[in-house]
Structures are given as C-alpha cells and as structure tokens.
C-alpha cells in the first residue's frame, strides 16, 4: 500500500484514474464510439450507482456478499488454524496428510461449484462452501509454516519452565504463529472475494455476483460496472484492514 505523506503523492494517486475516466467519458458519452449495451459510459455507471444506492439494493447486496465472505473465512480460519497447528507440530501427521493437501490445494475452488450445488442446493450455503475451500488452504499452509518457523529456543525455554505439550502449543507456538496466520487470512480474503462472486453467479439469489449477472442479462451494463467496482473497493478495504493489523504485530 502506498504511503501517503504529502500533497503531491495524493495527487499522484489520482492522476491516472482521473485521466482514464476522462478518456472513457470521451469515448462512450461524447463520441459514442461504443454502444452502451457493450460497455456503459461513466454517466450511465454513475446513474446506475445512484439508483442502486437509493433503492437500497446495493447496500443489501453488499451485506449479502460480506456475510458469505466473512462466514466462509471464519470457518476456513477455524479449520485451517487448528489443523495447521496440529500438522505443523507433528511431523508424522504432516507426512501422513501431505499428499492429500498437495492434491486438493491446486484444484481451483470454482471446480467445486457442481458439488457445492449438489450438496448445499441454492442460497448462501454453496457460496460459503466455495469460499471455505478457497480460503482454507492458504490459511492452513501459512499456519504450518509459522509453526515450523517458531524459534526452537522459545520452545526450549518453555520446557525449562515445565510447560506441558498443550501449554507449549497455546502459550508459545500459537502466539509465535500469529503473524503467519494473519498473512494467511490476508491472502485468504482476496481469494474469498473472487470465490464469492463466482459462487453467487451460479447457485445464489443475492449478493454482488448475483447483481452483476442479472443486470448484464437485462442489458443494464451500468449496474454491472458498479458491481465490479464495489468488489474492487471491498478488496482495498480488506487489504487496508489486514495491513493495519500486520503493522500492529511487532514480533
């Protein structure tokens, strides 16, 4: 993330977007070089934005998407962190699970969509399942990595105070792993946003992905672009939040 320190850098930040919007405006709205059912101009996008905002639909869809993202991420965090601590701690269990994890991990979450619909029908659940699949591996892998990188002397120090294995896990390995867990969550939430939109375009009847798909079917391309930009803005916000959290972790 750019560190904004003075006026010039703020200006720098907005130069390119403003130029692009002007060019876009000229192409679509002034010279009408592209028909609006192919791609909308900024005026149409703005109008669609105002309409969606005033009707409350935009807010509702954002909430629906956020709900799925956060529930999926939360489930993935619970499973990924717990398994990660256990697999990182036990060399044997890690060896036993390594093939399964290596095979499942590269499968794109979207490939799970058919099963998500078979198992969970329609609604929020299949999307949450897809998000879970997408997030759980980065969280699992970075948690395992964090456990491995826990300094041996810290574990030895705890042992010299008579700490049990459980105490070593909760009092030493877990805190030592937190920076890696946060990195995993940060990667996970980016993937989660992608998965949500894909999930919502198929089995869902709410959320930004659903909004993008239905508006395109109605040739309301303005709303499509609004939906796309909202996803981008959500991404920036999450990235900012996690960057702030990472800055607060000093070990």
């Amino acid at each position: 993330m750019t560190n904004i320190t003075d006026k010039t850098s703020i200006i720098d930040l907005f130069i390119l977007p403003v130029i692009l919007i002007i060019i876009w405006y000229l192409i679509c709205d002034v010279f009408m070089m592209i028909p609006s059912y192919m791609f909308p101009g900024p005026v149409e996008v703005f109008n669609a934005f105002v309409k969606l905002l005033l009707s409350g639909k935009l807010f509702k869809d954002i909430i629906a998407t956020l709900y799925k993202v956060l529930v999926g991420l939360l489930l993935a965090a619970i499973v990924g962190i717990t398994l990660g601590l256990i697999l990182g701690w036990s060399k044997r269990l890690e060896r036993i699970s390594t093939l399964i994890v290596s095979i499942l991990r590269p499968i794109p979450p979207i490939a799970w969509i058919p099963f998500s619909i078979l198992w969970f029908g329609i609604g929020s659940k299949p999307a949450i399942f897809i998000i879970f699949i997408g997030c759980v591996f980065p969280i699992l892998v970075s948690t395992i990595d964090g456990v491995h990188r826990t300094k041996g002397v810290l574990i030895e120090a705890a042992k010299s105070f008579g700490a049990s294995n459980t105490q070593i896990l909760t009092e030493v390995i877990l805190p030592a792993t937190i920076p890696y867990i946060v990195t995993g969550l940060k990667v996970g939430i980016g993937i989660a946003l992608m998965c949500t939109i894909a999930g919502e375009m198929i089995g869902s009847s709410s959320g930004i992905g659903y909004m993008i798909l239905t508006s395109t079917n109605l040739f309301d391309t303005g709303s499509t672009v609004v939906g796309m930009l909202v996803i981008g803005v959500l991404g920036i916000i999450f990235d900012y939040i996690f960057t702030k959290i990472q800055e607060r972790i000093f070990w």
């Binding site: 002397v153 810290l154 030895e156 120090a157 042992k159 010299s160 008579g162 105490q167 805190p175 070990w251």
Partner: protein, 250 residues
C-alpha cells in the same frame, strides 16, 4: 550431590552422515550450592553437556542424575538461561518474568507482586510493561535471568549468557548476578569461553579439551569474595587456566 554425570558420551550425525563425537565419556560430580563454570575452546562440547544436563537432549551413552533423579527431559527444577535471551517477543517484561509461575498455575496477583520485587531490585520496575524489542541487550538478559530465578529452581544452567554483551555491561551483570541472584542453596552451572568471567564467578572451573570433549582439569577457585580483578592472585589464576586451554588448542 546436585549433579552426577556418569560416563556420558554424545554423538551427533552431521551433514553428509558423518558421526561427530562431541563428548567422550565424561564423569563429573557437582555439589549442591556450588557455582561451577565450564570453560574450553569453542566446539569442546561444554554447551552440549549443559543441554544434556537440562534434558533438552539425551546422551548417546551414560546417564546424568540431578539429585539422584535420572534426567530424561527438561524440568522446572532446572532453570535454563540462553545466550540470546530467548524472551517471548509477544509478552511484555512482566508477562515474560511471570511466565514460569503462570505455567505452574500460581495465582496471578501474587506472581505480579513477586515479579515487581525482583524487577525493582535491578532497577527494571519502570520497564514492566515494555516489550523485549524496546530493551537493550543487558536489560533483556536481566529480564531473562529474573524469569528463571523467580521460579526458585534447585539449579540454574546458564549457556554463555553474557557473551553477546559489551564488556562494561558484561562486568556489571556479573557483579549483579553474584550480588543479587546467586544463592548458596542453588547450584549454578555457567558455560563461558571467557576465562576472566569464570574466575570472577565460579567456585569450581571445569576445563574441557577440544573435540571430542573431555574434562582436562578441574580448578578450585578459593579467591575471596567479593572478587577484584585487579589482584595478582586473580590474574595468576586467569593466566594458569588460559595456558591450560591454549595447550589443548594445539
């Protein structure tokens, strides 16, 4: 007898599957309450023996007894102090110092009062809520020492604790250690490559040979306390031991 080291050997498998004999049939008795220093050239196995005595590792051959109890794993009765302090970076000074007491399930309020007394004794009371990365090396090691001595273990094993510090800080910590924390009831085993440090601190100085590590000689150090570096006796003993080590180096 605090420690009985019987016929202890330790082999390591180094890279390329080569066996390295770090310790070769060591026999050593350490009396309760003694301050013992292990000195020797680097790679002589003195740290290895200390780690075996704590129970971090097990001997390839032989046994170690702590108060007639076979050492098989680390114990809260044997405090261990590391060269690089190894404070928990996510805990502040107070939380670090009370870590062992918390692990033992002691009541929090009491632990805090005790920790404050220990911190106050060395002028670190105002740093109770600072984190390790905000402290100097000397402060960190003082916190690490308090974190161990506060548990009142039977013995304290120290692995070159002052070697990363500058000379002034090292000398002031040596004095502080002897003056504040050294306890006649607690056995202290202190590994160092600094002969001057060993003569300043120890009742007994165990000199190791180069790998495979064996005990070459044990010196009784009867210099009166508090010790002063600037005396003939002090320098004589330092020279004698330094010569002994240099011979093993050849």
């Amino acid at each position: 007898m605090a420690f009985r080291v019987e016929n202890v050997s330790k082999k390591f498998i180094s890279k390329g599957n080569i066996e390295v004999l770090a310790l070769d049939h060591i026999n050593l008795n350490i009396e309760t309450g003694k301050f013992v220093c292990f000195v020797g050239p680097s790679g002589c196995g003195k740290t290895t023996l200390l780690r075996l005595m704590e129970g971090f590792e097990t001997p390839t051959e032989g046994q170690i007894y702590d108060d007639d109890e076979l050492v098989t794993q680390p114990s809260r009765e044997r405090g261990f102090i590391f060269q690089d302090y190894s404070l928990f970076p996510w805990l502040n000074v107070m939380e670090n110092v009370t870590f062992g007491l918390k692990i033992a399930g002691k009541p929090e309020e009491e632990n805090k009062q005790r920790a404050l007394a220990y911190l106050e004794a060395v002028g670190l009371k105002d740093f109770a809520d600072k984190y390790p990365h905000e402290l100097s090396g000397g402060m960190k090691q003082r916190v690490a020492i308090i974190r161990s001595v506060i548990n009142q273990s039977r013995s304290l094993l120290m692995d070159e604790p002052f070697s990363a510090l500058d000379v002034q800080t090292r000398h002031s910590l040596q004095k502080q250690f002897i003056g504040t924390w050294a306890d006649k009831k607690r056995t202290t085993i202190f590994v160092t490559h600094d002969v001057d440090e060993a003569v300043f601190l120890a009742d007994e100085i165990v000199v190791f040979t180069r790998r495979p590590g064996k005990i070459k000689k044990i010196y009784e150090n009867n210099l009166p306390r508090p010790r002063v570096r600037d005396t003939q006796d002090f320098r004589d003993l330092v020279n004698q031991i330094t010569q002994e080590i240099d011979e093993t180096d050849e």
